[in-house]
Amino acid sequence: MFKFFQSYFSNDLAIDLGTANTLIYVRGKGIVLDEPSVVAIRQDGGPNGKRVIQEVGLAAKQMLGRTPGNITAIRPMKDGVIADFTVTEQMLKHFIKRVLDSKLFSPSPRIIICVPCGSTQVERRAIRESALGAGASKVYLIEEPMAAAIGADLPISDATGSMVVDIGGGTTEVGVISLGGMVYAGSVRVGGDKFDEAIINYIRRNYGMLIGETTAELIKKTIGSAFPGSEVREMEVKGRNLAEGIPRSFTVSSNEILEALTDPLNSIVSAVKSALERTPPELGADIAEKGMVLTGGGALLRDLDRLLMEETGLPVIVAEDPLTCVVRGCGMALEQMEKLHSIFTTE
């Protein structure tokens, strides 16, 4: 009975405020929102010229790189943390408003929000403040590797080591977890964005063509791979020729993209290796038995698990539905908030 009332009145949220995508989990309902973290802002002219939010989420992402002068499409998160505080707060407010029913006396939600484990106190404070500004009554922070491990259904509370590698849009988080706590947490600011950037740079250098971020992301998703395979895929790409200044079309192959991605992939591999080096031997043995688990959108890069397998000699598995692992983990933490204390982080 009491539980019924509680579920009726509470509208607690778990948010994965990611560099690329923001996902929201509502207690008792599941994941209700999955939108790109992009905001389009329009500057009005005239006597009462105001800055207003034109679009948020998917619609704003489609505007990226295609905006006229008075509209700017912004990604307010960068490298896993807040780059533009005001816009992030407004974006969160916007998403929360869309997720929660607008009751007359709706209580302010409690929010669990995940932060990169490598973020500084200032960056965490910024995330907390922006969630409070967006209408939260209370904000709990959880480190991303912990959330990813919970979401991937790893035995985090057992006395056995579990290793999770969460490759997000802005950061790659490596965590070793045992007995409900983080034994090792490492973070490198390499993620999907760096992959896109590497592809843009490679194509400019080798083809003399300029492509946008959206095209680079499309290339990565279509033919990008992390390990040489037998099948070479090709893709036709359109961009602006730097010498002629005219849009041209050209073809890139998966092997070229593999070459382009070498640098950011090496950063991830070395982060994983450094985590393994610093893991206590008993937990290392557990990890050697079970392997490490990849989560996050970066885990969808073709053959990334194969690359890590070959580099480390350990089994690597990709979690189910890696894109939503972190928010599912946050959601499970939300459902059992009263029982789980050790997983939340302080500033």
Partner: protein, 317 residues
């Protein structure tokens, strides 16, 4: 780094290789043997121990770390053999529990949201300050109309007491323990007062009018001053009221005891004696003539709105 090549699952599932009947392990073993791979080849490719590969093929889940990992291992194994992993997982009842509800399709992005100043009409933001100011005004009004008379009386009592009372220090007795009490005759009653002011004590006090109304907290032997000998050294005073019209009077003595509280008609006279300082409230003060120890007291300076409030601490000189 080469060798059997990993492919995305489901790209080209081996036709006819998968039967519905056998379990995932049996199917994988059959496929492996068809691909002419040894257990060691598979273990090397998957970076697993040989016993783990054997356990997968035997569906020996207890020898494997846990369902999450088993699913991952089977997926990797299936990819190595280029078959669809989901069918294998279904065959072994290893499909992951339904993760979450599908993502709801929400209303499309709503339009303009002011960036700088949050929602609501402009007057809403003034609501709270205006409400606060109204509450403040109401509080002040309440204080003015109801609380002020009482507290004003108190303040006036203290001031008039201070005006009328002579300096508390006397040359003959300045005892250290009693000095603190002696400086505030209006506020501190004596520690050991007589139960009621004896009429005999009054003349004695009058006989020594120079004795200041020091509250005698000291328990010195009554040998020094005649006032102290007279009766617990408390000064008392006599009041004579004469009424030319209807009025009411309230008189309290130093302990706060009401000596007189009643309405009086024209022509009435009242005489009473009480322990100093005496606190008086006299209604319709213009028709009252007051004598304190035989000396007339001018009520006009103490009168406000026809009510005189004053404290008498010592006989007028």
């Amino acid at each position: 780094m080469t060798g059997p090549v990993f492919e995305q699952p489901g790209v080209q599932p081996a036709p006819g290789a998968i039967d519905d009947a056998p379990s995932a392990g049996a199917q994988l073993r059959a496929l492996r043997e068809a691909a002419q791979l040894t257990l060691d080849d598979v273990a090397h490719q998957l970076k697993l121990a040989r016993r783990q590969v054997v356990a997968i093929e035997n569906d020996d889940l207890d020898a494997l770390p846990g369902p999450t990992f088993v699913r991952g291992f089977i997926r990797n194994y299936a990819r190595l053999l280029r078959v669809d992993a989901e069918a294998l997982l279904q065959a072994s009842n290893l499909v992951a529990p339904a993760a979450t509800a599908p993502i709801q399709q929400l209303a499309p992005t709503m339009g303009e949201l002011p960036l700088a100043n949050g929602g609501g009409p402009a007057w809403v933001r003034w609501l709270i300050p205006v409400a606060l100011i109204l509450v403040l005004i109401a509080g002040v009004a309440y204080y003015e109309f109801t609380v002020v008379p009482a507290s004003g009386k108190k303040a006036r009592k203290e001031t008039s007491g201070a005006v009328i009372a002579p300096p508390a220090t006397s040359p003959e007795d300045a005892p250290p323990p009693g000095s603190a009490a002696a400086t505030e005759p209006a506020s501190l009653p004596p520690v050991e007062p007589p139960p009621s002011v004896a009429p005999q004590a009054a003349p004695a006090a009058q006989a020594a009018p120079a004795t200041p109304p020091v509250t005698a907290t000291q328990a010195n032997p009554p040998s020094t001053a005649p006032a102290a000998a007279a009766g617990q050294s408390v000064a008392s005073g006599r009041l004579d009221f004469e009424f030319a019209g209807p009025s009411w009077v309230e008189v309290r003595d130093a302990r706060g005891e009401v000596l007189l509280q009643r309405e009086l008609a024209a022509g009435d006279r009242r005489t009473l004696t009480g322990m100093l300082p005496l606190t008086l409230r006299i209604g319709n003060a213009s028709v009252v003539r007051l004598q304190f120890d035989g000396n007339p007291v001018d009520l006009v300076p103490h009168t406000r709105a026809e009510i005189a409030r004053l404290t008498l601490a010592a006989p007028r000189p």
